[in-house]
Amino acid sequence: MENKILVIAEHRAQEIREVTWELVSGVGKLAEDLSMELEGVILGHNCEELVEDLAESVIKLYHVEDEDLAFYTWESYLHALMPLIEEVNPLMVVMGHTTMGMDLGPRLAAAMNSPYMPDCINFTFDGDDLIVTRELFGGKLKSELKVAKGERYCVTLRPGIFDPEKVKRGGKDIEKTTPQLDKESFVTQFLGLLEPPEEGVDITKSDIVIGVGRGIGDRDKLKVVEELAEVTGGVLAATRPVIDSGWLPKERQVGQSGKTVKPELYIACGISGASQHTIGMKKSGTIVAINNDPRAPIFNIAHYGIVGDLVEILPAITSRIRSVR
């Protein structure tokens, strides 16, 4: 067994995704602490610039080139990765707990016959034992797990837990390979990557964002949040359940599958703070959380917290601001 961690890079629309920089930076430091080497793999087609860019941040970068790897599918990636992983022989394969990691991770781990530890917020080795930390019930509990001994491990790490620094680590050691893909046997066909639609309101442009979550309870109560948005000159945004209910349009969604916002002020109203949402707003300048559950994980990232009923609190704040404007 080689004492190596292999990071699978993600890219989309000719850019390396931020999560990849987080992993090479954060996992790279953990690897150094554990006296392990960080290597990376990037699969793609005509992506030499990305390869050059990433190569400095890992000890060695494997560049797997094929036209069928221009876009991610579980099947082309799995077929290209399996022989490479056999050859590289890492102790651990790491990727982000992203829409790619969630799709590929379980399948790759099963194909490798390796334990799969998804959505980890930390990992370490205790002797030979891999120990990981995960969250349960949307962050209300932390769970520490010992992973059964495997020949190798497959882990996905939550985006946003490391800073995406471009650390210089390697000397641009790139090994380019062409995979043998049995394309005739493929049962998954990539049809296209659709770009985000043109939108009416761009919530990423506002200095003040008022976020509303499931805790608002019903649609009629949105009025008190709208009034706060109006008086602050901010825009209204929402978590996924509010969007799924059809109360606000998709362009207002903040989080993993929505937008990432970094306003000067983010007021989270009735938002519990599940990672799928906080990924999209935790880098806001000042975060205010208003929630009737004092244990809501949103208070963990907020600067100011108010425990109480939105219908009483929000009009009081609106009225206070209005009194000076």
């Binding site: 099947e75 019930f137 059964a148 049809l191 600067h303 100011y304 704040i317």
Partner: protein, 262 residues
């Protein structure tokens, strides 16, 4: 089209969950349970597909005795058959084992599509769907937001939701497995009277977890819980404001003004 929908019962945690004296298990006895939110969307999508293209949806769940509640819900919603893989109470069963046992039971029947929710509300792992697809030897797509059956091609065309509004469009040869994202449709309303009627009269096929496990090799559990820790604000930066709504509004206004963000 024959569709199998995997349903999971999850606890609704509103208060602080109690960690038992072993430090490794939760006492969820006081908490209500319901059908995992993502699975409710998978069930609805399966029923809509069966209605649109012809065929039936069946539901399957693995869990202790009370997990059969979600199967009654599935039957009341329109599923034709239900299978309950009965597990011992209070036993932590990891997702690898769950996927293996589900695969063994599902392989005994015929199917065109297997559907699950993207993830479970309790562990948020998003693990079982793609693992199950591998064990069944079929293609999969996760985070699915649209499904179209292409009868002539024996395939489904699906849209997967990616980050920041991007969408992946794929064609999968059937049989296939899909994990369904919330918001794909609106789960139908089931009245409590209808649910009671199904609880009285509907049939659920019961199979024993241990029997299924013993049918083949393993699967060996792949994780051991070392400890569970309730949420504690980590030396948190949060300043919690107190008092009447007006007093809290005053304090907040002052602080935001002094920071220059209002």
């Amino acid at each position: 089209m024959e569709i199998i929908v995997c349903l999971r019962q999850t606890a609704i945690i509103k208060e602080e969950p109690k960690v038992q004296s072993d430090g490794k298990t939760l006492d969820l006895s006081g908490f209500n349970r319901h059908l995992n939110e993502w699975d409710a969307y998978a069930l609805e999508e399966a029923l809509l597909l069966a209605q649109k293209y012809g065929g039936d949806a069946s539901v399957i769940s693995l869990g202790p005795g009370e997990a059969q509640e979600v199967l009654f819900y599935g039957l009341a919603a329109g599923a034709k058959r239900a299978i309950h893989i009965l597990t011992p109470d209070q036993q932590h069963i990891d997702n690898w084992t769950i996927a293996n046992v589900l695969a063994r039971v599902i392989k005994k029947g015929s199917f065109d599509l297997v559907m699950t929710g993207v993830q479970a509300e309790d562990d948020g792992c998003a693990e079982i769907g793609a693992t199950l697809a591998h064990l069944l030897g079929i293609p999969h797509a996760s985070l699915v937001m649209r499904v179209e059956y292409e009868q002539g091609q024996n395939a489904v065309k699906v849209d997967r939701e990616l980050e920041a509004g991007y969408v992946d469009s794929l064609r999968l040869t059937l049989p296939a497995l899909l994990t369904i994202q919330t918001g794909i449709s609106q789960p139908r309303y089931i009245s409590s009277m209808r649910l009671r009627r199904f609880k009285k009269s509907a049939t659920i096929t019961k199979v024993s977890f241990e029997d299924i496990v013993s049918e083949g090799e393993g699967p060996s559990p792949r994780e051991e819980v070392l400890g569970l820790y309730p949420y504690q604000p980590e030396a948190s930066q949060v300043e919690v404001l107190e008092g009447s709504p007006e007093a809290m509004a005053d304090q907040l206004f002052e602080r935001l003004q002094s920071k220059g963000v209002l």
